[in-house]
């Protein structure tokens, strides 16, 4: 008997009204993410992958259809679906330790427990030496580590990641990808990870969900069965990358045609 899916997206449609006209951002999305699974949403900009993630997070409800997380319908943001943003979204007036403690304080945990949890996560992410620094004193990579520690500290079963490594240089990105996999492995956490990086998605995910450009829909779901740690220079990796690239480029071409085409769209 299999466990119920951690995330279940049923016939989700999302329409934005901008400047008097309607844009269908998502249409007919059906998706199941199993508990403990790592799934990447991949597609060109404008394919609605972030829109879908925001809907799962509860920031922006779908126009039609519904989303279930842990068996319950999503109606608002909640700490069971912790989000890591591309812009880090750290609170600049709080130190590193205060940022990581925030979610626990909100939950009303006792102070000694908060301190212990915070220090344990800061340790695991190599941040202990920075616990009393303010975010402005940290590099982009360090800030994103803090943001990851902040969501891990509240022990959410589902992690939503919105292009979290998009603004980082290649080396830092690879470092954080490996760290994320290390923490995820055996944690039982479900990860829904938005990216436009083809290599990144194959490096990380159990399944890559390739999305179509406008309206956003699921074009193809590509399972990645390569054992971890994955070697991006291996021939299997390359073959897969080639296949996914072909899928994404077809959508990218539609995106570019759209940009060049009539301004009315």
């Amino acid at each position: 008997m299999s466990a119920p899916p951690a995330i279940r997206v049923e016939g989700v449609r999302k329409v934005f009204a901008t400047g008097g006209r309607e844009v269908v951002a998502l249409d007919g999305i059906d998706l199941e993410v199993a508990a403990g699974e790592f799934v990447c949403l991949l597609g060109p900009s404008g394919c609605g992958k972030s829109t879908l993630l925001n809907a799962v997070a509860g920031f922006s409800p779908p126009t039609a259809g519904r989303i279930l997380a842990g068996g319950r319908e999503v109606t608002s943001p909640g700490p069971d679906r912790a989000m890591v943003f591309q812009e880090y979204a750290l609170f600049p007036w709080m130190t590193v330790a205060q940022n990581v403690a925030f979610g626990l304080e909100v939950k009303g945990r006792p102070a000694p427990e908060i301190r212990e949890t915070v220090d344990s996560w800061l340790g695991k992410l190599n941040l202990l030496d920075f616990r009393d620094r303010f975010p402005k004193d940290l590099s982009g990579g360090m800030r994103q580590r803090v943001a990851i520690a902040r969501v891990l500290a509240i022990d959410a079963p589902i992690l939503l990641m919105d292009e979290p490594f998009g603004a980082l240089d290649a080396l830092t990105r690879r470092n954080l990808q490996e760290e994320l996999l290390r923490i995820w492995a055996g944690s039982g956490k479900t990860v829904l990870f938005v990216t436009h990086g083809i290599e990144e998605s194959i490096f990380l995910a159990d399944r890559v969900v390739v999305m179509t450009y406008r309206p956003g829909a699921v074009k193809e779901v590509v399972p990645v069965t390569l054992p971890r740690p994955r070697d991006p220079s291996s021939s299997e990796f390359n073959a897969l990358e080639k296949r996914v690239t072909a899928l994404v480029m077809a959508e990218q071409a539609r995106h570019e045609r759209d940009e060049r085409g009539a301004p009315a769209g």
């Binding site: 909640g78 700490p79 979204a89 609170f91 402005k136």
Partner: protein
């Protein structure tokens, strides 16, 4: 010559020349001492003013009115500004009245203030509170509205209640605006206190320089002005220090 001493020399050159010319012109009697007393006389007078204890009394009185009026004005503006920034319906209730009152300089309220409160400290407190009120209010509203949407989303995502978000996200992110409003507010308060003392209070630095005019003591007028300048500088410096201390996290984030 090193760049630093050259810069220092250029910095003092013009003030020194002005002082020397002023001293010489006054000494030769080319300009009457009532119009422009020599700087040396001003310094002596300033020293007498300080040594007699009169300066301390005047300064203490002015400072008391500034701080008291500022506390009232900022104390009313801060909660109202937070509410107006956070709740649109509160803003809709108060904004029209405040927009009508805001362009009226606090000094224009002097006649009414005297009619309502008589002479002495009460009208001064009223006028100073009014002067400090609007800069703090306007900046607080702006601060609350400029809270970064991504911080609100992050807090909500971590499970924070609306009250927690207000206290721990909106309030601290509005702080840089609130503090710069307070800095402007206390500057206005200091202007208003001098004018209030010239009209409605018979004590303080503003009263003292107006009193000196009646006796044609221009050296004392200037000595009083210098004292006012020094106190203004100290107040602004203290406010700057408090801001920098509270906004350690903010330094370098914006210009």
């Amino acid at each position: 010559m090193s760049g630093r001493s050259a810069r220092l020399l250029r910095a003092v050159l013009v003030p020194v020349i002005v002082l020397v010319v002023w001293e010489v012109v006054s000494r030769t009697g080319a300009i009457s001492a009532i119009i422009m007393p020599a700087p040396s006389r001003v310094v002596v007078r300033w020293w007498d003013y300080a040594a007699s204890g009169e300066m301390l009394q005047d300064a203490a009185g002015s400072l008391y009115r500034v701080l008291g009026g500022f506390a009232i004005g900022a104390g009313l503006a801060l909660p109202l500004g937070l509410l107006m920034g956070a709740k649109e319906w509160v803003n809709q209730l108060f904004d029209p009245l405040l927009q009508i009152l805001r362009p009226i300089p606090p000094i224009a309220f002097i006649p009414l203030a005297i009619l309502w409160f008589g002479l002495g400290n009460p009208p001064a407190f009223f006028l100073i509170a009014l002067g400090a009120f609007f800069p703090v209010l306007v900046n607080t509203i702006a601060g609350v509205r400029h809270v970064d949407a991504i911080h609100l989303r992050a807090a909500r995502n971590l499970g924070a209640s609306e009250w927690t978000i207000f206290r721990r996200v909106i309030l601290p992110s509005a702080m840089p605006y609130v503090l710069s409003g307070m800095r402007i507010g206390i500057g206005v308060a200091f202007i208003v206190v001098i004018v209030a003392e010239m009209t409605a209070v018979n004590q303080g630095l503003g009263y003292r320089i107006l009193e000196a005019r009646e006796y044609f003591w221009s050296d004392k007028i200037i000595a009083g002005m210098i004292t006012i300048g020094i106190i203004g500088l100290v107040i602004d410096g203290v406010m700057g220090r408090i801001s920098a201390r509270l906004l350690r996290w903010h330094r370098g984030l914006e210009g």
